[in-house]
């Protein structure tokens, strides 16, 4: 708001116009990040490159050559952005989706367990929050467990979940999804407990004067109040689910999924592959969270809460 007023047409500063909208600043930030990335890539890859020159007894390599070489290594310490983008292009557009080398294939695997885990986690979170809000006993007995469940490092229990479930014959999507569930039920539980408890006193009093039952008060008052909280916690839950799905793929012997790509990449020092999987995971997380944001907008608008 204030930015817009400052950058009036009469402004002399050429950057004022660029910084006024939202597009301008975003572009600037992206450019800065890319610049830092390139500089870091050069800096981190130089020692290895110099070693190569030494072994080849080349002494008078110009700086421009050094920079070009550090940005074109096959297994760089830090791959350059364009290397990652080329890798992503090669493994998405130029590969059949059914191919084991297609990044789309692996993303699809991760996506499906993310979504299943998210669905289970959100459902579990909502159910737990309803119980906690309506029963003092559940509030006192469940809440400490809910919180302490998140203090256990997921990396420690992920293999156990996978191994135990495999032992009882459950394999494939569900064990991975369970880890997503484990991570995503928490923000939903906490957010919904807060949301379901958020109605104003006067609105609760109103329900009391109507002698509304607890079920009526839930559907007509608590739940609508909790909707904005639900969407916020679902965004966090979705991101957590993706992390869970990737972590869940690490101990499965690296067969498929973005996690498997990360693991395989690190086995063979394929840093470009690691980074393209990472970027894909980030893109996936961003899209999923944005999708929930769209659903949130539509829902709140239909509820008359967005103006």
């Amino acid at each position: 708001m204030t930015d817009a007023t400052h950058s009036s047409p009469r402004s002399i500063n050429p950057f004022a116009g660029l910084m006024s909208g939202t597009v301008g600043p975003v572009i600037v930030v992206v450019l800065v990040i890319l610049a830092i990335w390139y500089i870091s890539a050069v800096a981190l890859n130089t020692p290895f490159q110099k070693g190569l020159y030494e072994r080849a007894s080349r002494t008078d390599v110009p700086v421009s050559q050094l920079i070009t070489d550090t940005l074109a290594q096959e297994r760089p310490v830090l791959p350059a952005p364009h290397q990652v983008i080329v890798e992503i292009w090669k493994t998405t557009v130029q590969k059949k989706i059914t191919s084991k080398r297609s990044l789309v294939f692996h993303t699809g695997i991760t996506l499906s367990s993310t979504l299943l885990g998210f669905l289970l986690g959100t459902t579990l979170g909502i159910l737990l929050s309803i119980g906690i809000v309506h029963s003092r006993v559940l509030d006192k007995s469940l809440m400490p467990w809910v919180i302490s469940s998140q203090t256990i490092p997921i990396l420690a229990i992920a293999p156990m979940i996978i191994v135990v479930l495999n032992a009882v014959g459950i394999s494939g999507l569900l064990p991975k999804a369970m880890i997503s569930t484990y991570l995503s039920f928490f923000p939903v539980t906490v957010g919904m407990v807060k949301g379901l408890r958020s109605p104003e006193v006067i609105h609760m009093d109103l329900m009391h004067t109507y002698s509304a039952s607890r079920i009526q008060a839930f559907w007509k008052l608590r739940l609508p109040y909790a909707v904005p909280y639900l969407f916020t916690s679902m965004k966090i839950g979705m991101a957590a689910s993706l992390v869970g799905a990737i972590v869940g793929e690490l101990p499965t012997g690296a067969v498929a999924g973005l996690g498997a790509r990360l693991l395989a990449g690190s086995y063979y020092g394929q840093t470009v592959q690691i980074w393209s999987a990472l970027l894909m995971a980030a893109f996936l997380a961003g899209s999923l969270v944005a999708l929930i944001g769209v659903l949130e907008k539509i829902t709140l608008k239909r509820m008359g809460m967005a103006r």
């Binding site: 009391h208 004067t209 109507y210 002698s211 509304a212 509820m303 809460m305």
Partner: protein, 279 residues
């Protein structure tokens, strides 16, 4: 515990029934003390009050004298710490379960995600009325408060006065014989307030409802009421009860009459005395 309470209630029913069949509210020796971190707050002390069917009773007094608390006790939103109270001859809780009253809060308390019509429908949904019956009551009561045509608007699209009228329509839609109103027009400007006062009076005259009305405006109290209860603070108690001799059927012009001014004078004296008592 429950057996004891219900035994007490039955006893009260008999007592009130024998005293007066038209007694709507009967309060005896009622006190309410809030236990707070800063020690006890004596919100109500030794209240005695009887309200009959068709009365229009105003509670008037300075802020913090317990007007809201007394109204909330009648509505079973607070429990007294001593004394007894019956509403329609039964305990406030039973009266509430019978949906004996409609309550209008100081702010409209409309649900922001519901349209005006849907807000008015809220108590009707809870009562489990048929869709047809709901529609009929919504349009009748929105008409009564001059809000026809605003059914599909959301609360934030309406002015403060219209929101408060919507909340009155919502209370009326329950079709209670008793209306409890806590400074419903307190936040409105004087012209809107005058208009709503007249409408309220007409409604009351038409329906023979019993109204308990909280205000801190002397003209409003005198204009509306058949009985004015002057309260004073610390501890909250009744200082004076004035029975009005103004005709039940009155217009805003009544405010110029000597009778009106005489009652207003007595209310003002009561408020002043209640105040100096404390200083």
């Amino acid at each position: 515990m429950t057996a004891l309470a219900s035994a007490k209630d039955t006893e009260m029913v008999e007592k009130t029934n024998s005293a007066s069949p038209n007694r709507v509210i009967d309060i005896e020796n009622l006190s309410l003390t809030f236990e707070t971190n800063d020690g006890p707050v004596h919100a109500l002390s030794d209240i005695d009050l009887k309200i009959d069917e068709g009365d229009f009773v105003s509670f008037i007094g300075p802020s913090g004298c317990g007007k809201t608390t007394l109204l909330r006790v009648i509505a079973d939103l607070e429990k007294p710490t001593a004394g007894s109270i019956t509403v329609n001859g039964v305990s406030p809780e039973e009266a509430r379960l019978n949906r004996a009253y409609g309550y209008v809060f100081q702010s409209s308390a409309l649900y922001p995600w519901r349209t005006i019509a849907k807000n008015v429908a809220l108590p009707l949904e809870i009562m489990g009325l048929s869709g047809e019956e709901q529609q009929e009551r919504i349009s009748r009561n929105m008409d009564l408060v001059n809000l026809s045509g605003f059914e599909k608007k959301y609360p934030w699209q309406l002015s403060g006065g219209m929101q408060q009228r919507a909340s009155i329509a919502r209370a009326l839609a329950v079709e209670p014989d008793l209306l409890l109103m806590d400074e419903p027009f307190g936040a409105l400007d004087e012209i809107v307030r005058d208009h709503l006062n007249e409408q309220l009076l007409q409604l009351w005259a038409k329906t023979n409802k019993t109204v308990v009305f909280v205000t801190h405006s002397i003209p409003e109290a005198v204009f509306l009421s058949t009985k004015i209860v002057v309260l004073c603070p610390r501890p909250g108690r009744i200082y004076d009860v004035i029975d009005s001799n103004l005709p039940r059927d009155r217009s805003l012009d009544v405010r110029e009459t000597p009778e009106f001014l005489k009652i207003a004078h007595r209310v003002r004296d009561g408020l002043r005395a209640g105040h100096s008592y404390e200083d």
